[in-house]
């Protein structure tokens, strides 16, 4: 029997065989049937955070105090606003990682439920949370501070946002916390008389001063102005020692505390609660001394204005 097939039909047939062969093979060889059930149960959807603050904002630290930084963000949860646990909101400022500086809103570090945050519902699925974070004066100046925000919902789902950055500006500040400094009563020719208390110079900013200069002036009598005590009778050192490394004021009256032998009198920023390496920095003590002249003075008050200048060099 001869079957006549056209070329075109042959090609179509061959193609059909090639295409259907795997299906037929699978159906014949793996002839196995099983019943199974697919169940997807969506129990919770995580919340999402959108930050309201303008990115790149800047903060001026406050001398000797804390700057209050206000962060506002919006939390959305598809499961409904009731599902958002606003009291778990944590706002954390970080600089550098993993061992950089960081400061958090109070709710994150205290037992208070909501601490320094507050919230208000925007609708059925979102809530606005406002938090304040205290930034101390010794926080490093940088444009690389990052705001890390996290919040949880009542089912334990969490959201995290670290898209917001900001700048901590430079703060140059010094303060002298003492309320009085005096030499008390002295006698003519009395040597090595120390002023009490000593001069404590605090760096109450976040900048570092490479130089601390004192400019003394002659003390003039308040009653008899012809009497004075010249600046060369005064001296300053950085230790409480009558002889040790004292720097006498020259006739110009200007002493750079760094000139005192063996000292490295810079005034770096810092505080005992600051992060390393600034935890042991932030102040400088100077001890003032006088050698009272043996003559030419009368019993009276003497006064003058002295300058203390700190220098920030780049």
């Amino acid at each position: 029997m001869i079957i006549k097939i056209k070329k075109k039909q042959l090609i179509i047939m061959l193609m059909l065989i090639v295409l259907t062969a795997p299906i037929i093979y699978a159906a014949v060889v793996n002839n196995y049937r099983a019943n199974f059930k697919v169940e997807i149960v969506i129990t919770n959807r995580n919340p999402r955070i959108n930050v309201s603050n303008a990115s790149g904002f800047s903060v001026d630290p406050i001398s000797g105090s804390n700057a209050i930084v206000y962060i506002s963000f919006n939390v959305t949860d598809a499961d409904g606003v009731w599902n958002i646990n606003a009291s778990t909101a944590v706002v954390n400022f970080t600089l550098g990682s993993p061992n950089g500086q960081n400061y958090q809103n109070i709710s994150a570090v205290s037992t208070s439920e909501f601490g320094t945050c507050g919230n208000s519902s925007d609708g059925s699925t979102s809530v606005t949370i406002n938090c304040t974070v205290l930034l101390p004066y010794f926080a490093n100046q940088s444009s690389l501070w990052v705001v890390n925000i996290s919040v949880k919902d009542t089912d334990g789902g969490s959201a995290f946002n670290d898209t917001l950055t900001f700048t901590v500006n430079s703060l140059d500040a010094v303060s002298l916390p003492m309320t009085a400094l005096n030499f008390s009563n002295v006698n003519l020719s009395q040597q090595n008389v120390r002023a009490y208390p000593h001069l404590l110079i605090n760096n109450t900013g976040n900048d570092d001063f490479g130089e601390v200069n004192m400019t003394a002036a002659a003390l003039i009598g308040t009653t008899d102005t012809t009497k004075s005590i010249g600046v060369t009778n005064f001296g300053v050192n950085l230790t409480n020692s009558t002889t040790n490394l004292r720097q006498s004021f020259p006739a110009s009256g200007i002493v750079n505390l760094e000139q005192i032998n063996g000292s490295n009198a810079t005034l770096m920023h810092g505080h005992t609660s600051a992060f390393a390496p600034n935890a042991d920095k932030g102040n400088l003590s100077a001890f003032l001394w006088v050698n009272v002249p043996s003559s030419g003075l009368s019993a009276q008050f003497y006064n003058a204005t002295w300058n203390i200048s700190v220098v920030r060099t780049p």
Binding site: Q141, L176, V186, G205, T305, N307, I308
Partner: protein
């Protein structure tokens, strides 16, 4: 005479909050401000007075680079002031011909009267310095910045043979067409 006792040298600060001076300023990366030659930029500083009493602050500055906008002889700060804004107009010198030149620019804020106001006063001053780096204008075409001289030399060397061929052809054409040159050529041949 030696036994005479007299009251002497009393430093008194009347305020319980002590002496203090403070100035916040815009953050500069690496303490450096970059400016195009001859241009200016506004740099903001904010005076603070953390004390419980009113203070007068004076500003001295390097007039070659800085001008204070709305300058005052004395800036009076109320107690607990945290942001008395002062704007400094910082200008890069026009005679800085070399881009990349770095200058040190500074200003000083200081108390007018010694703090406390009684007895012997201590006057605080802060001298702040930063770098001013003069840069070339990125929008202005500068031959110094944009031409690669090595590249130019190599291109020139490559073009020399082509130039030679063109000139040579032109010369030959001139010789053929110019009668004087042609006759001279015949003479030379003879």
């Amino acid at each position: 005479m030696k036994s005479i006792i007299f009251l002497l040298l009393i430093f008194i600060v009347l305020s319980t909050s002590g002496y203090s001076i403070s100035v916040a300023s815009d953050y500069l990366v690496n303490d450096t401000m970059e400016l195009v030659i001859g241009t200016s930029k506004i740099y903001g500083i904010r005076l603070q007075n953390p004390t419980d009493y009113k203070v007068g602050i004076k500003i001295d500055y390097d007039g070659n680079f800085i001008k204070v906008i709305d300058y005052k002889e004395v800036y009076d700060l109320e107690p607990k002031t945290t942001g008395y804004k002062i704007l400094l107009n910082v200008t890069a010198p026009k005679n800085a011909t070399v881009p990349g030149s770095v200058y040190t620019v500074g200003y000083t804020v200081g108390e007018v009267e010694p703090s406390g106001g009684g007895g012997i006063g201590l006057r605080l001053k802060i001298n702040k310095n930063f770098k001013l780096k003069v840069v070339s204008n990125p929008e202005k075409f500068s031959t110094k910045d944009h031409i690669n001289y090595d590249y130019l030399i190599y291109t020139g060397i490559l073009l020399l043979p082509l130039l030679y061929v063109i000139l040579n052809k032109k010369l030959k054409k001139n010789v053929k067409t110019h009668p004087k040159i042609q006759s001279k050529k015949f003479k030379d041949l003879k």
